[in-house]
Structures are given as C-alpha cells and as structure tokens.
C-alpha cells in the first residue's frame, strides 16, 4: 500500500519543511505531540479494506492524491458576502469562520461573552501554551489510524471553545468550515477543542462547506470535554462539494450527569467517513446520537459510532437513518460497549436505511459487546424501500407520484429531524434534504 500512497510519501517526508513554516508554533509544547503523531503516521499508514474498521470503505483512491498543505498555497480569498451565502439561513447564531483549517477572526461575528468564556482560534491557544490545551488537546482522543495521525501532526489551527463552570453561551455558535480551493488540490486539517465546565451549556453548529472546483480533502478532528452536569449539543451539517473527501473524527469524554447530543447530518462529499466516539466515564450520563445520511450519485458515506459505557447508570440513545439514491453506497457501523462495572446501563441503537434505486447499496454492522449482566441493551437495523402500500394509498387520493414519494421520505426521516432543538435549523435541514435528493420539497 505505501508504494501507491503519494499522500503518505508526501507527508512522512515533508515534516521539516512544514516546521519551518510554522511561524513559532514549533517552539510550543504541543509540537512534541506533532512529532509523536508523525512517527505514528509512518507506523500506522493509511487503512486498507483488510482493516476490519475500514472493511467497506476503500480509501486507496483518496491516498493516491498528494494534496497540498494550506501553508503552501495562496490564501483563499473569502469575503463577508460569501460568508453570508454560506451560513445556514435564518438561524440566529454567532459565526466563526475557518478557512482550510485556519481560523479567520475578521470574518467571524461574535457576541460579547460573559467573563471566562473563550471562543478563539486554537492556534492562539497553542501558541500561548494555555493550560487548557496542555490538559486536553490530543489527550481526549487516541491516534487510531493514519488519518488521525496526519491531522495531529499537520494541523495548525481550528476553533477553541471554553465554557467555564456555571456559564452558558446563549446563542448557538455556527462554525463555518470552508474547505478547498480553485487553484490547488488542498488538504484541510481543522482541529477543534470544545471544553464545557461544570453546569455549563453550549450549542455548536459545525457547518462544513466546499470552495472552488478542485478536488480537496477535509480531515478533521474534534475533541469535546463535557463536564459534570453540562449540556452540549453538537450539530454537524456536512455540505461539502461533490468532489470532496471528508474524514471526521469526533471524540467525546463525558463526566457525571452530563448530556451530550450529536446530530450528524451528512449531505455532501464524494467519500465521507465519520467516526463518533463517546466515553461515559461516570454515573448518570446521557448520550444521544442522531444521524441522517443522504446519498446520491456515486457518494460513499460511512458512519462509525462507538459508545463506551464505562460506569453504571448511564443511558445512550442512537438513531441513524439513511436514504440512498442512484449509485450511492452507505456504511453504518455502530458499537455499544458495556464494561463489567457498568451495571444498570440502558443502551439503544437503531439504524434504518431506505434504498431508492437499484444500484444503491448499504452495509451495516450494529454491534453489542456486553460484559455486565444487569443491563438493557438493544439494537435494531432495517433496510428496505418506500412502502408500496402507503404509496398506493397516497396516490389513490390523487397525489402526484413525486409528492407522494416526498411525503414518504419526509415521514421516514421525521423522527431524526424532530430531535433538532433549533427550530429554524430544522426548517433549513428540510430544504437541504430535498435539494440534495433532487426531489420536490414538501
């Protein structure tokens, strides 16, 4: 494999040149982590389909490309008008802009936050060797594959959000990740760190969008620390270009009584892989995972989730729904792990997929690994097509075929969309769903 991977070659060899461009960041304590990650990259390399976790997702086409690091290309020219276009309409939120992995303060629109709240670029925090980055950055997650290593070694920036104990950020924070370029084939490596203190609350919308016509590769990692009794909502709306590769890892560490909800809305990208992992490391924690994946044309969308119940009396709910059209391919791999001590765990997982075309396909692998006896765990997976009887019923009421199909699609995804807590976002998601599937909106 390594012989064919130009990406691996470029980035295992190009570290010295990268260090020179780092502009002082190589003096920081985080730089040691980068060096370790570089070694890991050479050791782990990029996964192949022989790796059980990548069985259904072949990245050989992706790693053949030698995407350029953003430090080596002309800065992409973005203005406020474009931001206005790219932001999700009608959603009242603060705006953070990240262009090819670099935080752009000028274009960001932030409120005045109460004392102690930090909404900043991660690079700033790394540069200042802030206590928080030293404590949490790259500590919550492990490097599991070459992509994680690549991000850790070569990422320079991203967003940093810190909500101290007993504080709340009222407005949702919308982070617009703009990736790609019209000049070069680029790799975008945003690295985000979200820390929610005790009794704090924050809601984040991560909006991934594409820029330019060239192929590009977004490889992002988000680490979330959810303190005791905190409430964290993370909405991921992925609207990359159709020529994008998108690999995302989100790692969440939850403390006592916290509630973390992840909404994974996957629309764009040619090859998409999401890894969402949670560790429930104390009692009385709730974890919610909601997901929608909509495939059209030749898209390949792979969602991996892992809920680790390490302590007793916790609950996790997972609901993933997919609609696959044309020649698109879906992969779902959900794992619930219940450790020996995690008695009285309630863990539920459900994955439902509808195939709209003959060429669409889905591979699903819901897994339970349970070492405690006093638990209630279940998973369910269904795969099917639009209900013929329901369709006939609607049609017999004089509804056109297009509308009838749209109605059934809307009904199918309803229970995921309804979980979204921001009303306007719900509306916008509805638009995106029908637009992406090229169907009549209802």
């Amino acid at each position: 494999m390594p012989a064919e991977s130009n990406l691996l070659k470029k980035y295992t060899e190009g570290f010295a040149a990268f260090e020179e461009k780092l502009n002082g960041q190589s003096e920081t304590s985080f730089h040691k982590v980068r060096n370790e990650a570089l070694n890991k990259l050479a050791e782990l390399q990029f996964p192949t389909v022989k790796n059980e976790e990548w069985k259904y997702t072949n990245v050989s086409g992706l790693v053949k490309n030698d995407f350029e690091h953003p430090l080596n290309i002309e800065t992409v020219d973005i203005d406020a008008a474009l931001i206005e276009k790219l932001r999700i309409d009608d959603v009242d939120s603060d705006i953070l802009v990240v262009v090819n992995g670099s935080f752009n303060k000028e274009l960001s629109v932030l409120s005045d936050y109460p004392d102690g709240i930090i909404v900043d670029s991660l690079a700033n925090q790394i540069k200042n060797n802030s206590e928080l980055t030293e404590k949490y950055l790259s500590k919550l997650t492990k490097i599991e594959n070459g992509f994680n290593a690549l991000n850790t070694a070569y990422s320079t920036d991203g967003v940093f959000i810190y909500v101290p104990d007993n504080k709340v950020i009222e407005k949702p924070l919308q982070v617009i990740f703009i990736n790609g370029s019209s000049e070069n084939e680029v790799i975008s490596l945003p690295r985000n760190l979200i820390i929610a203190g005790k009794n704090s609350q924050v809601s984040i919308i991560a909006n991934y969008v594409g820029y330019g016509e060239k192929e590009y590769f977004t490889n992002t990692i988000t680490e979330v620390y959810s303190g005791a009794n905190s409430v964290v909502d993370l909405y991921k709306v992925q609207n990359e270009n159709e020529n994008a590769y998108h690999i995302d890892k989100t790692e969440v560490y939850q403390n006592r009584d916290s509630v973390f909800s992840h909404y994974n809305m996957s629309f764009g990208g040619k090859l998409v892989r999401n890894d969402i992992n949670s560790t429930l490391d104390d009692e009385n924690i709730t974890t919610n995972y909601y997901g929608l994946y909509l495939g059209s044309n030749k898209q390949h969308i792979d969602n991996h989730t892992f809920v680790n119940h390490a302590k007793p009396n916790c609950e996790s709910n997972e609901l993933y729904k997919g609609i696959l059209d044309d020649q698109s391919r879906g992969v779902f791999n959900g794992k619930i792990w219940v450790e020996k001590d995690a008695q009285k765990t309630n863990a539920y997982q459900s994955n439902k997929t509808i195939l709209l075309s003959k060429e669409a396909s889905i591979d699903t692998k819901p897994q339970l690994e349970i070492y405690a006896d006093d638990v209630k765990c279940s998973h369910g997976a269904t795969i099917g097509h639009l209900d013929d009887q329901a369709y006939f019923y609607i049609r017999s009421r004089g509804v056109s075929p297009e509308i009838a199909k749209s109605m059934l699609i809307r009904a199918f995804i309803d229970d995921v969309v309804e979980e979204v807590k921001i009303d306007n976002l719900k509306e916008q998601l509805n638009h995106m769903i029908f637009e992406h599937l090229h169907r009549v909106e209802i």
Binding site: I362, D363, P366, L368, I370, D374, T382, I383
Partner: protein
C-alpha cells in the same frame, strides 16, 4: 423478552442458581476400552496418503486431499473470532483411528459387546432402534462407521444413507460431483484441514420425489485419546425430496484439549428440503476451563434449485471453544434458508457462532433466530452475515438475536453484518441483551414456584422459539441437555 430493572431481592438465590449451574458435572464422561488402529501423531503428506489408502479411496479423492493439504500449508489460522485458546500443535494429533475390527455385520449380535454398552450409556439402544419408529442410526464410533441400521428400509425408496467411505466405494460419481461443491477445499483453515484428512462421516442421497420416511440420525462420539475428529458429511436432496437429519454428540472426559474440525455440506435441488438439527454436548472442560473440546466446524448448505429450502437448528451446550457458522447459499429463486440456534456457555466456555445467509436468487427468504445464554466466566458471541446480492429481487430477511446474561463475569456480544445491494430487499435485524427478570422470578415465587424452577421456566421460555423447531425425538434430548447444563438452578 421482557426487560426489567433489577431489584435487590432474589439476587442471592439467583447467584446461587448461577453457582449451581456452573458447578454441575459433565454426565457423559467415561472412556471405552477398545483396541484401536491408530496412526502415530503428526501430519504430513504420507499421513494424508495413508488415510486415503486405508479407506481404499479412488485416485481423484487422494488428489483432492493432497491439493487441500498443500493449500492448508499456505494458510494461517484465523484469529478474528472472539475466542482465546492455547496454540494448537497440529503435529501433536493422530489423524486416523479406527476400531480394529471393522465388522461387516448382518445383525447386531455380531457387534462388539463393548461398543453396544457404550451406545447404551449414550442412550442409543441399538437393539431397540428397529422397534423405535422412524429413526435410523448410523453410529460413528470415532472415525469409522461401525454399524448402519434401517438400510434396507431406506434402500427400498432408493435412499442412500451410509458412511462417506462406503459412498466412495459404491457411489463415487455422486461423491465426486458434490464433495467440495459447497465448501471448497480452499474455504477456510479448518475446512481445508478437514478436506485433507477427513476420516469419515455420513453420506445421504435422497432421490427425486422421495420423502424420507424417517428421521436420519448420526451420533458422533470422540473416543480415542488425542484423536482429532474430522468428519465430513454430505447430504444431497434431489428434486422434490425431503429429509430431516439429526446430529448429536457427547464425548468422554479427558485432560488434553481435543480438536474437532468437521465439514457439513448440504445441497438441495428444485423443490427439495433439508432440515438439519444438531444437539452438541461435547465435554466443555472442567470448571477451570481445562480440557474441553475445540469445535471448529464449517457447515454450509446450498439451495441450488427453485423453491428449495434448508433449515439449520442447533442447540450448543458443550465444547470449550465453539466456532461455527452454519450458512445457506440461496441460489435458486424462491428458496428459503432458516437458522435457529440456542447456545449456552458456562464456566470458561467460549462460543462464537452464528450464520451466513447469502441471497442470490429472486424472492429468497431467510429467518435467523439466535438465543445466547452466558453464565459463569464464559463469552458468547453471535456473528452473522446477511448478504443480499444485486439480482436477489424482493428478497427478505428477518433476524433476531437475543442474549441473556447470568452473573457479572460473563460476556454477550453481537456482531451482525448486513450487506444489501438490492433496493427491493427488506432486511430486519433486532438484538437485545438482558438478564433474567427479577420481577419475573418474583412473580413466579409468589405463585409458590421455587427460584430454581422459576429460572428454569424463564430460560425455557427464552429458548422456546428454537426448541419448537427441533424434531420430536430431538426436542426431548435438547431439553434434557439444557436441564443438565442448568441443573440445580438455572433451568
């Protein structure tokens, strides 16, 4: 099944129940002293040739065995199952052992009385078999078929039911046509090993339009010290035929681990049906997990014809390590595959079992019902694959995998793989994991039923869907086995 919050009461009795379950002794442990003609330990090409010569096999069979052996040398033992066991030294086994007097008997009187006693202990009174309606027994004592009953009755219908070595002598064309056609010699590590060194097994051929008038049954019994068993079973149901086949096993107590790598191949042609039931109760090792059987089995059926059907039912209570995925390849249009399984693990037992349903033909249907019960320090995994091919229009699958945990030192795992390439398919998978409901026990206690009986009833209820699928003769034994496994408390 109902899921409930645990309360404090009752848990002590339950703990005791689990304890009793884990300490119940293996009933069927002893060894028969019979002279054995055994090969020295070790495996090489000469051993493969030796086995073939012993059995006076045709040349092509030997060639096939050698091809398998050479391929096996290039393979690696699979490490992906969720089981742990000490490294197997394949040179430490003897690959052939047969009772010395291979009798060609007309009546049971001529059978070695020692053997008859063994069968009696096993609960197969051969002298009563003929009176017992409906069951013909091809008893495999270690590796060679010793006696076959009811052959004449079956022969009248044109049914062939004999050992595979006999079939190689008398019906080589049938064996040649079908052997390795469902499980090729390159299939997997253990199946390949089996292909090279298989000693004996059963062969069944049901001719066109014949409904086998009785349930066919083979009892396997591992007997000689340190002899791996490599059975090979081949069942062919020709157009419009039906057969129900029973397989059951017990093994004597011993200290060194025993390897068992069987291969079972089923073929159904147009409108034919095979029902294959297994009760497996090999020695699981002592309560420390020492000395049990390694059960690495490859079972697969091919529904070649239209409207054909293959149904697997298994009750797995024995073996130290079980690694077994009976599967169905649904090639013919409208063909049906079924898998019903109860797997009980206890002490240090490990089971990684499940099924594969490969839908290729149109309108194919499959059902999977799997019940796992783990107790003691055991690990019990369901691992299954449902694959709907591109051309399998309107195919349908329903899977249900339920696990029950008894005690906090065991594990229950579910690893289903679902791959769908056809939009008209409907696939459903459900899995739950829970413990014996304490409110259920409380409810039964209230009605004057002891905790022991209550747990028994609940576990039986949990497995009922599978037991219902077993043929009458077998259902009794299966329930007995479960009762032994769960004796004193949990069943």
């Amino acid at each position: 099944m109902a899921e409930v919050r645990a309360e404090d009461f009752g848990s002590e009795e339950q703990a005791k129940a689990v304890e009793d379950l884990t300490t119940s002794e293996y009933k069927w442990g002893w060894e028969t002293e019979i002279e054995q003609d055994t090969f020295p330990k070790g495996l090489n090409e000469d051993v493969v040739r030796g086995i073939s010569r012993k059995k006076n096999e045709p040349e092509w069979m030997l060639e096939w065995r050698l091809k398998a052996y050479r391929h096996w040398l290039t393979m690696e033992e699979p490490k992906w199952p969720k089981v742990k066991y000490p490294e197997i030294d394949y040179q430490a086994y003897s690959y052939y052992s047969a009772p010395k007097e291979k009798p060609e008997l007309e009546s049971l009187d001529e059978v070695d009385p020692e053997l008859l006693k063994t069968f009696e202990k096993l609960g197969i009174p051969l002298e009563e078999q003929k009176k017992l309606a409906g069951v013909a027994v091809d008893a495999v004592f270690d590796s060679v078929s010793v006696t076959t009953t009811f052959k004449e009755t079956l022969a009248e219908k044109g049914i062939i039911f004999c050992s595979i070595s006999e079939a190689l002598q008398e019906h080589p064309e049938l064996v040649k046509k079908y052997i390795g056609s469902v499980v090729p010699y390159t299939d997997n590590y253990f199946a390949t090993l089996n292909s090279a060194v298989f000693s004996d097994g059963s062969f069944v051929y049901i001719p066109k339009g014949v409904r086998c008038p009785m349930e066919l049954s083979t009892y396997f019994r591992i007997n000689a010290m340190d002899t791996g068993q490599f059975e090979r079973t081949l069942i062919i149901a020709d157009e419009g035929s039906y057969v129900s086949y029973l397989e059951g096993c017990t093994a004597p107590m011993r200290d060194t681990n025993q390897l068992h790598a069987a291969v079972v191949e089923l073929v159904t042609l147009d409108n034919a049906e095979i029902k294959y039931s297994t009760v497996q109760n090999w020695y699981p090792g002592d309560s420390e997990g020492k000395g049990g059987i390694y059960n690495f089995v490859t079972k697969r059926g091919a529904c070649r014809g239209v409207n054909s059907k293959i149904s697997w039912t298994q009750v797995e209570t024995g073996s130290a390590v079980t690694w077994k995925y009976p599967g169905c390849i649904l090639q013919g249009d409208n063909s049906v595959g079924e898998f019903y399984s109860v797997a009980v693990t206890n002490n240090h037992q490990q089971a990684d079992t499940g099924t594969k349903m490969i839908h290729i033909g149109k309108n194919t249907k499959s059902t999977i019902i799997s019940k796992g019960i783990s107790a003691g320090r055991s690990d019990n995994s369901y691992r299954g694959l449902v694959k709907i091919g591109k051309k399998a229009d309107n195919s349908r699958n329903f899977s249900q995998c339920d696990s029950m945990l008894m005690g906090s030192n065991c594990g229950a795992h579910t690893f289903p793989y679902i791959e769908v390439d056809n939009e008209s398919a409907m696939v459903e998978h459900e899995a739950t994991t829970s413990k014996v409901g304490e409110d259920q026990i409380f409810y039964l206690n209230q009605r004057g039923i002891s905790t022991e009986d209550a747990v028994n009833m609940i576990v039986n209820g949990f497995c009922k869907e599978v037991f219902n699928e077993l043929p009458m003769e077998f259902a009794v034994e299966a329930q007995k086995l479960l009762a032994i496994s769960l004796e004193g408390s949990v069943g």
